[in-house]
Chain length 204, copies 2
Amino acid sequence: MARPRREDIESDNRREELIIAAAHLFRDKGYHGTSVREIARSINMRAGSPFYHFANKEDLLFACVEKGLKACLAELDAIDGEELSAFDRFRALTRTHLKCLLENRQDMLPLVVNEWQHLEGRNREEIMALRQRFELLWLKAFSDLNKAGLAPRADKLSCWFFLGALHAIPLWYDPQGKLSITELADRLVEETVRSARSPAARKL
Amino acid sequence: MARPRREDIESDNRREELIIAAAHLFRDKGYHGTSVREIARSINMRAGSPFYHFANKEDLLFACVEKGLKACLAELDAIDGEELSAFDRFRALTRTHLKCLLENRQDMLPLVVNEWQHLEGRNREEIMALRQRFELLWLKAFSDLNKAGLAPRADKLSCWFFLGALHAIPLWYDPQGKLSITELADRLVEETVRSARSPAARKL
DNA sequence: CCTACCGATCGGTAGG
DNA sequence: CCTACCGATCGGTAGG
């Protein structure tokens, strides 16, 4: 009796399909550049049907952004829980975060960088809270790096510069390029981590 | 006889006004999130009047992006022409680039980071060519830094990480904050420049 | 989830 | 540059 009927299951699938299709289009053409009909059509739905799953267009964007953020955050939190040196943790976090940004299945995370700004009210607040958790996690990683003598500073600015570089990668990344996602992540780590006692860090 | 009539001068002024108003709104709400009427209204114009100055909405975006790019590029080129050490040039370029991104009068440059993607055809090609000049200029600056022993590498990746960090600053910059634009630029320079012989650069 | 539909708004134009 | 307007498209709804 409490067992879900066939229709419910299918509805749930379509909901997920919608989120994935929407994320893809929002990413390519922006939130306002994508119509709900277009999203529907891309998965053979009729124009009005998405509103059976979401009260309005903004809620659909929210679902995309939230899904992307939570999926990535879960992976990062898992790494945070492992026993790792400051350097190894930093590298693992960077690799995973970049994988979330670039791997095809999840167009959701890149949306977080820009499109979340179109959210308002409660939707916006919830996403900002999730972003806050990201930032705290990364600030801690920088702080550990600093304590281990591998970063000259452990403040927000260092962290934001790093995240800026990381989040911009989807803008120029070429999947056909020579470097794998992991190698790319490692290059960014290499450019970020440095001895806190290096001449450049002391003097400049 | 060849002297411009009063109307022409006024038209030119309105055209500039339009670009500035459009850039401001495009920046806040995105290209597709801003209607032409909204831009017009913000400077007390009627709904159809912008189309006296621009053939269509996309051309207006193009004008914004082009103006922002060219203004910044002119300033950077001037610095490039000065006699400076690799480090001093790098710092001057960074300060100026960031000033173009953050100073109020010109909302145009931040558009270049994201909204230019909505351009098509010739408009798009022209902007891509200008962006190319930016990249070449910065690659050269990195190459000089490398030759001077102040950067472990001189490739595109280093340059793109740096530009990613730089272009993300408008997303979190607080004009009321403690750091001035110049101080912020100098912090980014400090994090980017390092001795090519530092332990971190050698080992990692 | 589809069919059929609505009011609002959009980019753009003609004519002055 | 304004007035007045157009066709197209949009987000969203009712009713099944």
